[in-house]
Symmetry: C2
Subunit: 357 residues, 2 copies
């Protein structure tokens, strides 16, 4: 099978974290895929996964960790449970737009501020007073633009009574969040954690829970088995409502432990060093250049590069040498490539890949 | 790791299908967990999984196969998309009750016919005329009662204008369904298919799609990314809305192919032979006896056994010998055991287990 040996620099699904195959083997040997989700053994996996994540991401008490099936599901559950009518969305690409569209589909009345694709937001706006929830996509995977968390905190400080939700799908675990200044975050595991897809993680504080209760009491439809209230009542018993993706929860525990052993500070430093190496290379390249021109908003984890001669040629050339990079997103498919820079991506491999470009 | 070698006869999650470990290894070698869910490679997995399932379960054209995260999610999506107000539920245990509760939580006005736990339904009723969707749990995992498909067909024939949904979670692939007489079925993969949990399959016909469109046009909330309309628009491109559990879809393709190679008729025959062996044993046992007394409604796939001296002793005794059986469900935890009889459970192992009882 060595002919298939490749390194995936795609922005998700991406390269698996190195020990995933070993952990899956251990999981199979220990019957992890056969145990009951009502067993003591499962409860240990549930609580250890939660604790490892809380430590890694510096999530304080007063926040709850829930397991869903995708980040897209998280968007739906947040809107259902935290919005009677009015959400407000900062839209700079396809994933922030998806959050907005989901609010529309759920028959809410979302408003938005749009930024040009690849550009930053004008943050000096007044959020409409009726807004209940402000939604940010901290790292827009489609464009390679990252929002500075300080800008999000500033909005929260100006609007302390409004809830703030932050999509950290493609920046976790790199992004450093001060949880006292946000109300909920979410991600999926097939990006920065390098795991098989099929598990989403939703982190909410008690204010979100209270909002969900309030909506339910007022007769709003907050969903069924995955309402925040249903999720909480099971999480308190270290269980889930439905049979979840137990294997992925087990793997998330193992990888979180490994990342904790390395230390989140070191992971952040390395991520920045690797990002600088990639941006420096393309800033100096004759033909290709970073798509995001404002260096202050360039994503450290999902890097979009303009390829004026088309993306296909370089994607194919790299693929032949065993390096898989992503194409541009949507309409930019042929004019950009995207390179992920997650914890499992090693500086040495990035250097080898860049030498081929 | 041999000390952990056990055979799980639990009703789900259960024993993995024998080749699952090998298929996971192949999937990892072929980078299945790293490929994009927008790639040609993924589209092939999507369509081959769908085709293998359609062949195995004899699903005709005009039905659509959608991938969700659990059977519980399927219940939510069916209610959201096929019911404006009135569903009707045949409730004989915890899982049929869950379907009803989900309809309540989604603010519908469900009605129900209840059967005593472990007993059959009185099918000679008039379904209220306003009913839009009739919900059956064909095999009630909590009680070990199976509904004869002929009873479901008879209700459908008397109510041809109403939609009929059938939960086949713990009877698939054994249960033989005439799809011209039902409108939708659903299951998850951690029971009869012996796969890691985290994938649900929803099978709907065009009447369900039409109902979803009608509700949407009338201003009902049909959900967002997993409405039947969203699922259909992506499935037509052999894709999913969100990044799905690609590994489980791959494994479902492989196991469906293996089951097709064995032949569904043979699987059904063997299931019945094994079920007869188990029921015969307990019908003649001094102490233990089948919980479901009416032989006509005894499940072939999830078998509940009364243990008048408590369930703990026999569960522990079997466990020490490497056989894991389930406890009774909920309040019956200590007074029953449940034994699953799925395609991966071999007659020889069942005999060995029974000898220990």
């Amino acid at each position: 099978m060595e002919k298939n040996k490749k390194i995936f620099f795609t922005p998700g699904p991406t390269q698996l974290y190195p020990n995933v195959a070993k952990h899956i083997k251990d999981a199979l040997s220990n019957n992890i895929c056969s145990i009951s989700h009502r067993s003591r053994e499962f409860e240990v996996i549930f609580s250890e996964t939660t604790e490892s994540l809380k430590r890694l991401l510096n999530i304080p008490n007063g926040f709850h960790v829930f397991f869903l099936s995708s980040a897209t599901e998280a968007m739906e559950r947040i809107i259902e449970n935290c919005v009677a009518e009015h959400s407000f969305h900062f839209i700079g690409g396809s994933f922030s737009e998806r959050f907005y569209i989901i609010a529309k589909q759920l028959m809410k009345s979302p408003e938005k501020l749009e930024a040009e694709f690849g550009k930053g937001f004008e943050f000096d706006l007044e959020i409409p007073g009726k807004t209940e929830l402000i939604c940010f996509t901290q790292n827009e995977t489609s464009s390679g633009v990252a929002v500075d968390m300080e800008d999000i905190y500033a909005i929260k400080k100006k609007n302390p009574e409004k809830l703030v939700a932050v999509d950290i799908v493609s920046s976790v675990p790199y992004v450093n969040i001060e949880y006292s200044l946000v109300d909920c975050t979410f991600f999926s595991v097939q990006k920065g954690f390098g795991l098989p897809a099929g598990l989403g993680v939703l982190i909410v504080n008690d204010r979100c829970i209270e909002k969900s209760k309030l909506l339910s009491n007022k007769g709003y439809n907050i969903g069924s088995y995955h309402s925040l209230l249903s999720l909480l009542s099971k999480a308190e018993k270290r269980q889930t409502v439905e049979t979840p993706n137990i294997l992925d929860m087990y793997l998330l525990r193992e990888i979180s432990k490994e990342l904790n052993n390395i230390g989140i500070e070191k992971i952040r430093e390395e991520t920045e060093e690797k990002a600088n190496m990639i941006y420096d290379f393309f800033d100096r390249h004759e033909l290709y250049s970073p798509f995001v021109q404002d260096k202050g908003i360039r994503s450290k984890t999902t890097i979009a590069i303009k390829t004026p001669n088309g993306s296909g040629e370089v994607i194919n050339r790299l693929s032949e040498k065993g390096f898989v990079v992503g194409s541009g997103y949507g309409v930019h498919k042929n004019e950009q490539i995207r390179i992920a820079n997650f914890p499992m991506h090693r500086a040495g491999d990035i250097k080898k890949m860049l030498r081929l470009i």
